[in-house]
């Protein structure tokens, strides 16, 4: 049962949904083009044939309507998986997510739960320009009442869905568009939690804190820093709300230096929150100011060279980490 297989991130997401629908008759998938088209990113391909139109439902192009429908279905005892094409489009459903899904448990005095899972694509890098490329998961991580997950690995893509469905409250899963093709071995039946960050790479000199689509870049940067004699530890946050502060604080207390890498914009961002927590709780362990590598504060551009320039890249991460060592590393 624990045999390892090679899997793409996309296949892992699909397998997780298929398994969930097999295990639990209340689980169904709903969203734009998830049925006949097989999903804009081909994640739901083949599910309509396997589970039928009752459980794999194409919806009208109204995020507000079908996210609201998902909330209603969850209230009614179902376990919906709602796919929103990109986080940019989820803004049309912001009212449903923030004003309903996140609040009903609290406003009903705990009488009603919303066991809803919303999956959406996030991030840039495919020349889809400013209306399809933003990283707004940090906005959702601001809101109490929902959980926000960011699977950065094939293993998490495979393993996070089931605990998300089991959670009695709404869970948002952000899938970075650059990750769908990533291939990795996953062991069959691997169990993951949706509470903790994870040390993706151990190191002693600096902590690179990141999540989602930036994890591969951070790991690549860590590899390049070895040449400078800098052993970087890489923390994959995995869960953006509630943040597992203890994981990155423990690492920063060890390495005394931190670089936060966030594809979101810098101002008022998740990276700002992480930086603030480090200041609040690990200030006296710091040997250098906290550094951040974020997207430039522009709508993500269409031309490739400008898009590349706007996003956090490996060389920027390496430079930011090096700068924390001052003259000794230059």
């Amino acid at each position: 049962m624990n045999a390892a297989r090679k899997l793409t991130y996309r296949d892992a997401l699909r397998e997780a949904m298929r398994e969930a629908m097999q295990r639990d008759g209340r689980v169904f998938v709903m969203g734009e083009d998830v049925g006949r088209y097989g999903g804009t990113y081909a994640v739901t391909k083949g599910l309509l044939e396997e589970f039928g139109a009752e459980r794999v439902r194409d919806t009208p192009l109204s995020e507000l309507a079908f996210v609201g429908t998902g909330i209603g279905a969850a209230l009614g005892g179902m376990r919906p998986i709602v796919e929103v094409m990109t986080v940019n489009f989820s803004l049309l459903a912001l009212d449903q997510i923030v004003n309903n899904a996140a609040t009903i448990r609290h406003m009903s005095g705990g009488q009603f739960s919303i066991p809803l899972v919303i999956r959406m694509t996030t991030g840039a890098g495919r020349q889809l320009a400013a209306q399809h490329s933003h990283s707004l998961e940090g906005w959702y991580a601001h809101v109490p009442g929902i959980k926000v997950l960011a699977p950065a690995t094939v293993e998490d893509a495979r393993g996070m869905l089931w605990p998300a469905l089991e959670d009695p409250d709404p869970v948002l899963i952000f899938e970075h568009a650059q990750l769908f093709g990533v291939t990795a071995e996953v062991s069959e039946g691997a169990v993951v939690d949706i509470r903790h960050a994870k040390v993706a790479r151990e190191g002693a000199n600096v902590t690179l804190i990141t999540y989602g689509g930036m994890l591969p870049k951070a790991l690549q940067a860590a590899q390049e820093l070895v040449a400078d004699g800098i052993e970087a530890e890489v923390i994959d946050l995995r869960v953006l709300r509630p943040l597992d502060s203890e994981s990155f604080l423990a690492s920063v207390r060890k390495t005394r230096r931190a670089v936060v890498i966030d594809e979101g914009w810098r101002s008022g961002s998740l990276s700002a929150e992480i930086s603030a927590r480090i200041m609040e709780q690990a200030f006296f362990d710091l040997d250098a100011p906290v550094a951040r590598v974020c997207s430039e504060e522009v709508p993500i551009p269409y031309p490739k060279h400008l898009e590349d320039a706007a996003l956090p890249q490996v060389d920027k991460i390496v430079a930011a980490a090096r700068a924390l060592f001052g003259a000794a590393a230059q």
Binding site: A204, N205, D228, G229, I230, E231, R256, F283, F284, D285, L286, D287, A288, P289, A323, L324, F325, G326, A327, A328, A329, Q330
Partner: protein, 412 residues
């Protein structure tokens, strides 16, 4: 080239934190001008310059802890140029920064890492990482002696540890215990700690002897009453300036009670600068100097005393007042004790005490009278003087207090 150094501020003070500069490069500095304010465990002290010159460069930034004797700034003498200052600085770099300490590198870093030549920036506050500051506290490392190799020359943990291993003798262990017993920034505890250090040193090193003499003050009190009757209330005299003047004048004939014990020998004081013990409301005491007390009239002495008490309690003393006392007077009469046998404030060699003035039966010319009496006492260093001379000194003080009108203007 004039090196402006953190001056001696009293035996129990070996370091201070620069609070602010009162000058900037290009400013002309005159003798006695207050150049900087330095916070010590006892008080914030206005540091005066004893040279004249033009500020060339400020070498220390505010908020840095600096040891007594550290060069804080360079002053140009007339005719000197900024280039000469730069040359001087280059030539003396070794004494300004600990160039002998090997430059720290990341343990993991290869030997190919380039050598660091970072100079601490002088324009802004010195950069020290929070972790480095904490580590320096733990190790007793003085940050101003640590070369920074971090971002923008910031001092890092590695720099502190490097400095600690390069100079293992920096932190005296007993001090460390005392420091750990109190949270940092606890001013009262810090004051208690340095008083403890000075007094323990005194009792450990100085073979004290003690003498006392009862001094009738009938004439002094009468003279005071007469003098004050003609003066507005703000200009009235108290006994204290009489004591100061009497002691100072008497000391002219007893130089062995006025000065310092340095290592193995007595060094007579230049001038008679009487330290006056002033208790602080928050606890502890300071004994700043009244300079050349033997040469001052009573009224100026009275005004100086009042000013000194006010400024001592406000925590704004001048460096010369902290550093210069050649002898100390303590007056515990106000607290109601009859006599005081004090502990000498090292490296001074004598302490004169006055107790409470009380009405006592007193024999004058074979007749019993009631007279105001004060017990004057002397604690003196037996390495320098003997009881015989000490006794003569107290007798001289007693006699001087019998002719207050002479004291009032005796300033030859």
């Amino acid at each position: 080239m004039i090196e402006f150094k953190l001056p001696y501020l009293g035996a129990d003070i070996d370091e201070g934190t620069l609070l602010e500069w009162h000058v900037k490069p290009g400013d002309r500095v005159t003798k006695g001008a207050v150049v900087a304010v330095v916070d010590t465990a006892k008080a914030a002290v206005d540091i005066e310059s004893w040279e004249e010159g033009t500020v060339s460069e400020l070498l220390i930034e505010p908020d840095n802890l600096i040891p007594v004797g550290a060069t804080m700034a360079l002053l140009l003498e007339s005719g000197e140029s900024a280039e000469q200052a730069a040359q001087w600085k280059a030539a003396h770099a070794a004494t300004l920064v600990p160039a002998t300490a090997p430059r720290p590198q990341l343990a993991a870093m290869g030997s190919g890492a380039p050598v660091v030549t970072a100079q601490p920036a002088t324009a802004a506050r010195r950069r020290v990482s929070p972790a480095a500051r904490k580590r320096a506290d733990e190790l007793g490392v003085k940050l101003e002696r640590v070369l920074g190799t971090g971002p923008d020359g910031a001092v890092t943990v590695a720099d502190v540890e490097q400095a600690a291993s390069a100079a293992p003798a920096v932190a005296p262990p007993p001090k460390e215990e005392a420091v750990q017993a109190h949270p940092p920034g606890d001013k009262a505890a810090e004051m208690r700690r340095i008083i403890a250090a000075a007094m323990a040193r005194s009792k450990r090193e100085i073979p004290h002897y003690y003498l006392a003499e009862e001094v009738p003050l009938t004439r002094a009190m009468q003279w005071l009453a007469d003098t004050n009757a003609t003066r507005p209330i703000t200009e009235r005299l108290l006994l204290a300036p009489l004591y100061v003047k009497a002691v100072a004048v008497a000391l002219k004939q007893f130089p062995e009670l006025n000065g310092f014990w340095r290592d193995t020998d007595f060094v007579p004081g230049v001038g008679i600068h009487v330290g006056v013990a002033i208790s602080l409301r928050q606890g502890g005491l300071i004994a700043p100097a009244i300079h050349d007390a033997d040469q001052k009239d009573l009224h100026p002495l009275m005004r100086e005393l009042g000013d000194l008490v006010k400024r001592t309690r406000a925590g704004s003393l001048k460096s010369s007042e902290m550093a210069d006392p050649t002898v100390t007077i303590t007056n515990l009469g106000d607290q109601g004790v009859d006599s005081v046998f004090g502990v000498i404030y090292p490296p001074q060699v004598a302490l004169v005490g006055f107790g409470r003035v009380r009405q006592r039966p007193w024999v004058v010319d074979g007749q019993l009278r009631i007279a105001p009496i004060v017990t004057a006492s002397l604690a003196a260093d037996h390495r320098v003087s003997d009881g015989h001379r000490g006794g003569l000194f107290l007798a001289a003080v007693r006699d001087l207090l019998q002719t207050p009108e002479k004291l009032a203007s005796q300033n030859d």
